[in-house]
Amino acid sequence: MIVSEQIAIDHGLKKDEFKKICQLLKRTPNITELGIFSAMWNEHCSYKSSKIHLKTLPTKGKRVIQGPGENAGVVDIDDGDAIVFKIESHNHPSFIEPYQGAATGVGGIMRDVFTMGARPIANLNSIHFGSPQHKKTKNLLRGVVHGIGGYGNCMGVPTIAGQTSFDSSYNDNILVNAMTLGLVKKNKIFYSKAAGLNKPIIYVGSKTGRDGIHGASMASANFDEKIEEKKPTVQVGDPFTEKLLLEACLELMTGDSIIAIQDMGAAGLTSSSVEMASKGNLGIEINLNNIPCRESNMTPYEIMLSESQERMLIILENGKEELAKKIFEKWNLDFAVIGKTTNSKKIELFFNNNQVASIPINTLVENSPVYDRKWKKTKMPRRNKFKKEVFKNLKIIDVLNKILANSNVCSKEWIWQQFDHTVMGDTIQKPGGDAGVVRIHGTNKAVATSVDSSAVYCWAHPFTGGKQIVCESWRNLISVGATPIALTNCLNFGSPENENNMGEFVECLQGIAEACEYLKYPIVSGNVSFYNQTKDIGIKPTPTIGGVGLIKNYSKMVTMEFKEVNSIVLVIGKTEGNIDQSIFARYILDEKNGPPPEINFFNEKNIGETLLKLIENDLIKSAHDVSLGGILTAISKMCIKGNKGINLKKPKLLIHELEYFFCEDQGRYIIEVHPNNLKTIKNILDKNAVHYDELGTINDNNELYFNDKIKVAIEELKNSNTYWLKDYMRK
């Protein structure tokens, strides 16, 4: 087949890009080569629109062992242990086929982690759906949850935290971001950089089929009416094979046979082989007749672009083939020597004794297009002036019940009860708290982790929103007593070819970078997902932050449920009463405009570090950060989880009580302290210039009293909070 410009365009390449390919090759590519270029040069693999901006992110820190650029990031957690972690999106496949899309998203991210030699110890997910009223939402949610569970549960890795939101901007483009943490010994980390000539390249795992051909290109295109036709590009997952692959790889990794290893993720064999060769500055030669195929008569084009799951590419030391083969056969997995490393600096493919492709590696990687896209700055929206009359007819308990039952605030128990969160026997903080916590097996250490995003804030003002999510992630880790170490991000945005969407991307990233820099909370891995839109409308900008923190002695871990009657409850951090973009303003007052809450880096860091000190000194009985729904929502959740009531008093301030209790001012935590420690704690807070308000005392009658006048049973609040999602899904 002669490759024409039109065929290139059908592969998602632009005219200019096709021209560039012909210039680089000094000839027209054949169809296999064109397929390889289209896979390597699409947005998903090449980061062509995001690269120049991603370079500005802070990626270094004293605990960082490996930053972005590998299969996953790695951080040091002392005693020779390290945590490997990364988040990745699987948005478009999950919208087309929610079960398989979500399942293979989970499978893919776990592979990224165990490729580096780490045993996965925790999974997380951040999933975003359209309006609950939208006709597709319920089925998509059910499919995604079953898919995540179906894969993660079978792998025997606990899913310990997550986040779910509903917003009409995701009606036709849901988001499914999956994150995995793995544990590895610092001196046994495996990388993807090829080294040495004539080293055998081996293929292990599942056979190659026709599933997922051009998945990465599909993920880099806008959705249109023909979306249903794309179903065949969604991969099908087999968690059982992945479990075997995990065990087999870790078994091989105990020895010294492996030079480099890379999983076959997006763009399958193409990107894995090219990336390994590129990092090692080598060439690679593959005989496609040796690839284990599931279907007959597969062409070189199909073999190279298949995204069949549960496959790995390994470069071995010479002479280790038999040993490796034995291990994979023990686990009933395919094993094949498919090629070798060369000094040609080209990827050369052979099929039926003919050379079917020969492409210089650098043309696929270094010479891939890089775009400095046009982007528009978002102005800071003007603040709303709410007249006091607006508040007059609102009863605080009604507002509270409504907020607790809001789809974005309510308990997500229906979701996380479907994920095995206790397998491996080290989960010491389950989903539903500020962060999930797992012990490092057999030690006193634990790692805390959470995923966060605030699309509404990022949409209102991307720069502020970007700062906010990093701070929120930091706060969630601190709330459980963990010292934040590093983070991974999944950047979900609309089309980079749209100036507004590109502007949201650039400014969110600037906000993220500033916050990471200030908090010394570096980014060690991540993923960009553009073209999240249907027709011409982009989703709300949704960067997702996956944070990881260390608890040196897990007996000091803090949870959010109220513990003891007569304890004193404080809010630390200042409450100004800005309700713009709060759940209260958006859903109760129906005011969707206005600026998001401001971030004050100094206060953020100071308050967080002071709280960690208090936790370290065993002065905190429970803690919870104040986020969506403000102080009263946070306190209600602590009452519900702890089965305790509280006598609340609003401090004597000029702010209206609704503003005080429902605003979403940042940098605040609710803490429970023993009355005997109150004085000591106040001293420490004063000394560190941390503002606090005393809010009340925990009671034993299971009711929330408000200024001695109004009261509501905790049971009622619990019902508001717990049943919305269950009822919605089972109706």
Binding site: F240, K243, F419, D420, T422, V423, M424
Partner: protein
């Protein structure tokens, strides 16, 4: 006391049960599914997980393995066998215990703490256990125990029900049934009470930092009964 845990391809609670058995004094050995011989054991455990991916039907392929033939012989000779979750599913597939395990009532995987009431303490698993109600943890998609009316009568007549799902006071109303099991059954014995299959995971309840400690009571009691 010697125990053996069988690892099938797809088992994923094998390490957890290994940790638990060792913690309470068992000398445990992991046995690979392709092995034929069972090491000398006082207790054999079939762990949780997704043996052979649970494709076809949960536990059905594992039930046909060579090592299971040895386990069956061991059990028929009076040897003590414990099947947890997927292990329970394997036990019903071999016919060592009666009944079947269907998909959960709401067709959803469930992971949470539950209470179970011990129905019968005249056996080596529960003899001398002080508590009557235990807090255990479940994590399964196919734990909905079912059997025919005749079988149920036989099971009850022989006192083969080991555990019922209940609330913390031991009430066994339908609302405390997490998965739709007939009569709230969470675990059963064979007629001779040397084989015990249950859906809950006692091995996940062995530390106060975890979901609870009632699993510790179970294992401590079991090893004491064996001594």
């Amino acid at each position: 006391m010697k125990s053996s845990v069988i690892t099938f391809p797809g088992s994923n609670c094998d390490r957890d049960i290994d940790v638990a058995l060792k913690k309470f004094g068992f000398k445990n050995r992991m046995v690979w599914h392709a092995d034929v011989e069972l090491p000398k054991s006082d207790l054999v455990v079939l762990p949780g997980g997704f043996s052979y991916g649970d494709y076809l039907r949960c536990g059905s392929m594992a039930a046909k393995t060579k090592i299971m033939q040895s386990v069956i012989n061991f059990a028929k000779g009076g040897g003590l066998v414990l099947g947890i979750c997927n292990g329970f599913q394997i036990l019903v597939e071999t016919g060592l215990v009666p009944g079947v395990l269907l998909r959960n009532k709401y067709l959803e995987f469930i992971c949470k703490n539950v209470f179970v009431k011990i129905n019968n303490k005249h056996n080596i698993f529960f003899k001398s256990l002080e508590k009557d109600i235990l807090e255990f943890h479940i994590a399964h998609n196919e734990g909905n125990y079912f059997c025919s009316k005749d079988q149920l009568k036989e099971i009850e007549d022989n006192d083969q029900v080991a555990l019922y799902y209940c609330n913390q006071n031991g009430d066994t109303e339908e609302q405390y049934n997490p998965n739709g099991s007939i009569k709230n059954i969470a675990g059963i014995f064979n007629k001779e009470k040397n084989i015990f299959g249950l859906m809950p995971h006692p091995e996940r309840m062995i530390d106060k930092s975890l979901s609870g400690e009632d699993g510790s009571l179970f294992f401590k009691n079991l090893i004491n009964n064996l001594k």
